[in-house]
Amino acid sequence: MNASRRALSGPRYAVLTAGGLIAFFAIWYFAAWARLAPPQFLPMPHQVLATLLRLMESPFSGYTLQEHMLASLQRFGMGFGLAALIGIPLGLMMGWFRLLDQIVSPLFNGLRFVPPIAWVPFAALWFGTGIGGPVLIIFTGAFPPCLINAYRGARYVDTYLIEAARTLGIGNFRIIAQVLFPAALPSIIAGLRISAGLGWMSLIGAELIVASSGIGYLLVKGQSAIDASIVMAGMFSIGVVGLAIDIILRLAEKMLARHK
């Protein structure tokens, strides 16, 4: 806590927060009511809500909102899972075997500056409109934090632990699995949270370009129909699901901290 901040009483905080929320919607309503832009471009908040409910009942560009979301979540699960399955063990091994670190690091640092979305052309060329394209892009987005955090976690493990394990004569791979992995777990989970966020964003980017289903595709279709309420309803559901993924991982983080 910071002393420069005069403590704010509970009611005052609540009033200001409510005021902020009301101001946000009031400005939005006013802008739409004053026709600063035609309703097609700037719908009122309750119209977006109505569109959201309509999209959940009747299919738009092939599927209902839930079906689009399910397709997106499947791709996300595959890309994110693959990134974690490869990134975490590789990061741990790089933290243990110095030569592997020296070999992988320059490659990794070179590729890291290619934004995931720049893989879209290759995703399209290699996989067409199949599921591989979006999965590749999610993977490139989600992979770096998995690797970096596992690596850092493994590097900062207490040397006493490693020396003790050494004294007991444990082999390299058992040290990685039974000493480095548990000790690096908090860092790994923190990495998973970052990588889920980046993966989710990359998924949306991928679906804007190479997909014929999914929530990103729904946005594109809403855009070409010049219907901002569809786009906003889609953005809202993307935000909610992204938030839900983050909350799940945060719960895992908390459970782990309690377990320790």
Partner: protein, 260 residues
């Protein structure tokens, strides 16, 4: 000391050897036909494409014009975002009232990934530069707010009390304590903002643009001109790395005490 130098040398040598063997592998795999030329280009083709775009031009312009256009858009969006985001973040960290008022709107918008704004930006502003700047702004704004907020919140109590005891005014507190003390976190935010700006720019240009690196990517995809895709990806990576490097230089210049 000598140990450190030797290790550093080993790191550089192994790194150089790795990059060399990757280049050799690339050359061998593509020229022997192990990897189909429809899947990945040979180094020679890539070099040819680089020459073509540098001297003759590709996708409406030469590489120089594309790069200039992309960098210009990124810098415009980036500077508007951090110009508004840093003061807002610092104000939220300094004053609980500002935080209470702004937080609801911020929390509502924050989970929406920047790339999900692209369709809305296109509906609102069309396919021109303005929609790209809007999306870059959205991407770069959030990290700069969050990190300057965290920086301002974590100033040590002793420092605040000491400055209060010395009786410095509000303005002096802001310029002499708040900003310098938050600077490390502000720079963390700047780096994340820059990365987000670069990613969103490439995505925005991929979806529709007349110039820019993303436009080269999408044009080359349409033409199934894979060596040009590789040229564009390398350019994106090099520029992204270069901008991050420049930001790091400014950081050490502004905060020499944090060196090393």
């Amino acid at each position: 000391m000598t140990m450190k130098i030797r290790r550093l040398n080993q790191r550089t040598i192994v790194g150089a050897l790795t990059l060399l063997s990757v280049c050799l592998l690339w050359w061998a795999a593509t020229t022997t036909g192990l990897v189909s030329p429809m899947r990945f280009p040979t180094p020679a083709e890539t070099l040819d494409s680089f020459n073509q775009i540098t001297f003759e031009g590709y996708g409406n312009a030469t590489l120089y014009v594309h790069v200039l256009h992309s960098v210009k858009l990124v810098l415009i969006g980036f500077f508007i975002a951090v110009g508004l985001g840093i003061p807002l973040g610092l104000a939220m960290g300094y004053s609980p009232s500002v935080e209470a008022f702004v937080n609801p709107a911020f929390l509502l918008l924050r989970p929406i990934p920047p790339l999900a704004w692209i369709p809305l930006a296109i509906v609102w502003l069309g396919l021109g530069d303005a929609s790209k700047v809007l999306v870059i702004f959205v991407g770069a704004f959030v990290p700069s707010v969050i990190n300057s907020y965290t920086g301002a919140r974590n100033i040590s109590v002793q420092l605040v009390e000491a400055s209060a005891m010395l009786g410095i005014g509000r303005w002096a507190f802001i310029t002499e304590v708040l900003i310098p003390e938050s600077l490390p976190m502000i720079f963390t935010g700047l780096r994340l903002s820059l990365q987000a700006a670069w990613t969103t720019l490439v995505a925005g240009e991929l979806i529709g643009a007349a110039y820019g690196l993303g436009h080269i990517l999408s044009q080359a995809t349409l033409d199934i001109y894979i060596s040009m895709i590789v040229v564009a990806m390398i350019t994106v990576a090099v520029l992204g790395g270069l901008m991050t490097y420049l930001l790091g230089l400014i950081e050490t210049r502004l905060m020499p005490w944090r060196k090393g």
